[in-house]
Point group: D2
Chain length 369, copies 4
């Protein structure tokens, strides 16, 4: 029941606060014998870290990760792996306002109510997007195991920002993979990325913010992952994905548009792959999942992020001190759009969930050699 | 880790198969002292049961529930409540085909692969929509506690079938609640319901099937339910909802459309409710959830169901016996659209998840009086 | 958190009441492909059932088990296995007394307090030793898998009744195994068994009861089961064993007597087994467990059962109706000593726990062939 | 399933290694609003730390704890509390031997086998008694909540060392509590403590080690804690206690000696306490637990610790490099008897388990004020 832990066999536990001393993660259930060092984790954190470009928050953090336990002589030991990032550039001044005047669209009001005002509100405390770095700590480990030992690759990228959308339907996995990190928007199409970037900058200039959609594709997934009834692949991925701040929607395969199709359109007929002799489907409307269980085709899903809540435009709110209606202008350093920083987090959640299923299906030994 | 169980404090465990002897549920963690009998459960099961109208499968089951344990002298005892429905009208003849020729869009292939052919394939076994009756067993108990002791009401209804959609935005909760069960489509607008009905019948005539969208509203939810980071309200509801067969999408509040808005549009400003003195929001784009925690406004979400997979139109598939491409015509009794039978199931999942959070927040005593 | 479930990967959930309609179990996480029928379960239940001899309660139950789900064509399917026994010979008359006058040493008072009087007190409800039959349902399945697929054998037997103790130190496993069920006391030494039997009958004649000690040996256990820190072999076995009614003590290997030894006496030195080339220990003071992990030697532990609480001798108690001190004479049908019926239950708990660890260590495939 | 975590609602997760950079704990599920600082935790750690007296290991560690997260402005926030101790005085030289020559009675062989040689063997890694400091981190928090908000007090003390035993039967709780820490053996009788001390010193001189028994009493426990069937008080305490290194036995109340009594002797008759009007028992053979549920009397149990495994006397072992029989002389710094350092650990486990049950029974609010 600990709500700060994800996974059953391979678990990620998050701790720390945005403006506290540190943020960190405990990764438990990792097989022994995996070669692991900070160099395996830092690149994923770097893709997520703040202050990388003019379209993100200007908070400057190197987000340098340290592994404190669970690794010995360069290999995992089977013991819990603890990782930590020391917070360096926190500036909590602006948050004093939000204690009594909760930001619309943010967790200030609900956190205050739930924790009786004892929550660490500085930098939004536990509710900050900064905590997704702790998810990436576990994600980096899971991604490495999936890739090296099971040949599973997971890629997420920006599909839309505001009303600008990239059509990804017929683009090969490798192209998406190669191109997704070529720009700071994380969209695999360079031209569309530039337009998205302009849109973000223009929203910021207007004191406003934007949302968007991230698409995720997992390739090389074996047939048979997922446990009916309540631990379907969709159930467990969704549980993880909806823990990312600002996520408000999720669809697999044809998703919402599929709900308006006929069965004859939406069903994926089966074929034999001539080159491998394996069963495949001719289309992938199911997003690689039938009956909650993987069918060997790529898992495909899309995640809707709401526009960032912290905007400098004047907003109507309530003053909790005297319970009067009031106005708020959010100052401080905030992302005008969280989507460009989110792909490593979506990758991480997906990797943790899939590795957990692989462990349940005995696909990974307890000692890797 | 048992995948057939939902919930932490209040748990529902499902057992049984579509064409086995019975289907059943164990409800554990229910407070003692709740007045409970079959009469509290049967009505919800009746709303879901097959053979009710010409738009559903013609399998005839009374779905009469029996409580076998956990209730004494008319009250719950604090012990596990077991409920059972004996299967009466199963006809497994047509399913022999699907063992070797998996239906496109269904779990035949993945279940066969995962369980090495040992799964009970009759009537789709554990993967049948029939198993959602076991969810409703737990749902009926949770709905009663939520309504009687916490004044929380949950209603789901059909929002769209195929390309016909009802605009529910400005319709009061009570109207939706009162009208949703007036027709067999479960759509609160009678005229639209008739058009949906016609569409379903026409799809059936064409040997095809339809999907649709169900909307769910939970009213009376207290502020503060939900546990960051990985047990947000969205996380736990989604985990439950995606365990319903045929669900492929889920969005809270403004959801996917919100991802194309600006922050200034999507943020819900705060106000004081003049009549109650309580904090409310002027709009509800967040779907009643901020930072994964309930804010006291109604929880609102929409669920996308894919078109039913079992259609009589000829489909391309693979013969597993000799690994050749083949054709399949699905016979047997199937729903042309599962959406009309799903609202009680969505209600049930939502109720179980919310009650679980209420128990975690100490809002329900262990002995109800 | 459901307290009626044991295990993580292979789980047993118990339901039902001593004098309700039925008692039953759900076994989840069992691999698919295991040949299973009632004939695999009934023998273990028969060894535990009441009314077998003059030294047990005279309640007459055939304890005939029915498998309701999870088995298809004679093999497990990977779905939850549900089993049920319909109660036949319950006589609840005497229990009305205990509602207001709790029996000393029994759960009447604590159950009444915890459940506000709503608990099913008939036949002690959930607190009856009768519920251990539901444990044996899961135990029978686990024992079969352990024996057939992993060559692990578990035997429990009566080591002492009252002050009569059998010295089992130098008796081979096979002798203990062969002789333990030759008498109704379940003690592998026939002469000592007869003396134990006389002692039980004499205690019954005096309106009194007896306790005793059961010893359990698990042979063929591989090296490496057990998960540090909080899921050591001892931790998980003890959690299970202390859920058996009347158990008040547990020791592994040299146990309490070992705590008075010197390290040089209690340490088990290592050797090479000439015949197998494997590492063994020269003695087994550790009970087959080092650092919470199995070392390949037999697991050995002893379980202390208190004397049965329900005795016809007049006892001092309190009348809960008017909170006065009072007297109670317990009538009804009770075991004068629960120890002779407990070995199948100790076997079952041990088997469930060990199989759970074997699954965590990938020693059992998800599909058995 | 993470084996490094104890508890369901209030959880303690342990990380770190004996000779790694640090050891630490994450405490999750702690109510918000608890005044907490390092000063609440350090005293318990000081009672456990090494190098305090000549009867313990001479490793010198200040064991200075730092709280890294979860506390803000002096109060808990409801977020995970992370604590850390940086290791200072580790000397791993002697442990190189044990990699190939496992110490009899220690985890060297089983850890090597389980983790394929990847485990951090320095200072016994995760299997070191040093890790019990991480248990005490959570224990200190739990003990404070139990004492301040529920008036529950838990005390453990040394009852026997080797063959010297203190009779604690008729000694009042307050005397035991006051006297238990007056000497470095942690035995509440000063004279017996001196004899125990001499015995330990003499065993050390002889290159040998001792075990012993710790008794624990919890006073002020409310009626009704414990969840049947598999989460009885005994089950959960035992699961925790058997995770302490060197524990091989546990008995509640009359325990093993009770198993040789008659029911009429062992049953605790009920009375009305004249001063409070509450129900009590005249004796406490049950150790405060009936049917797995607390009855309001003090919880009493005893824990058997085996003699410490690491002794300098020459011992027979096996050389894993060439699989030959060999000899080992254990050098390095080790406790000749772990019992004197264990009472804070037994207190901690007991406190964590009892607080967890209190949370499940709604006895502690989610926000303490």
């Amino acid at each position: 029941m600990p709500s700060n832990t994800l996974g059953d066999c391979f678990t990620l536990s998050s701790f720390g606060e945005s403006h506290g001393q540190c943020i960190g993660a405990i990764i438990d259930g990792c097989p022994a014998g995996l070669r692991l060092s900070e160099a395996d984790v830092q690149p994923l954190l770097d893709l997520r870290k703040p202050g990388q470009s003019i379209i993100t928050t200007q908070r400057r953090e190197t987000d340098t990760v340290e592994i404190l336990s669970g690794v010995f002589n360069g290999f995992t030991t089977g013991a819990p792996i603890s990782m930590i990032i020391w917070n360096k550039d926190s500036d909590s001044r602006s948050y004093d306002d939000f204690v009594s005047k909760p930001r619309p669209g943010h967790a200030d009001y609900t956190a205050f109510s739930k924790y009786g005002g004892f929550n660490d509100f500085r930098g939004s405390g536990r509710f900050s997007g900064r905590l997704t770095a702790t998810i990436a700590m576990g994600g980096a480990v899971a991604l490495k195991i999936l890739k090296n030992y099971l040949n599973i690759e997971i890629i997420s990228y920006t599909k839309s920002i505001g009303d600008i959308t990239m059509d990804t339907a017929d683009i090969p996995f490798d192209t998406l993979s190669k191109n997704r990190y070529l720009n700071d928007v994380r969209c695999p199409d360079q031209d569309i990325a530039m337009r998205m970037r302009d849109l973000i900058l223009s929203a910021r200039r207007e004191g406003d913010s934007l949302g968007g959609v991230i698409e995720c594709v997992a390739q090389g997934v074996p047939v048979g992952l997922g446990e009916p009834i309540f631990e379907s692949i969709e159930s467990e991925i969704s549980k993880g994905i909806f823990s990312i701040p600002a996520v408000k929607g999720l669809e697999f395969g044809s998703g919402f548009s599929g709900s308006a199709m006929r069965g004859s359109e939406n069903n994926d007929s089966f074929s034999i792959d001539k080159s491998t002799g394996k069963i495949i489907t001719d289309t992938n409307k199911s997003g690689g999942i039938l009956g909650g269980i993987t069918d060997g085709m790529p898992i495909v899903f899309r995640v809707a992020f709401k526009p960032a809540a912290s905007i400098p435009k004047p907003q109507k709110t309530v003053d909790l001190k005297d319970m009067t209606e009031s106005q708020l202008i959010v100052s401080g350093r905030h992302d005008p759009c969280v989507v460009p920083r989110a792909p490593p987090v979506v990758d991480s959640i997906t990797a943790i969930v899939l590795l957990d299923f692989c462990l349940k299906s005995n696909l990974v030994p307890r000692v890797i050699r």
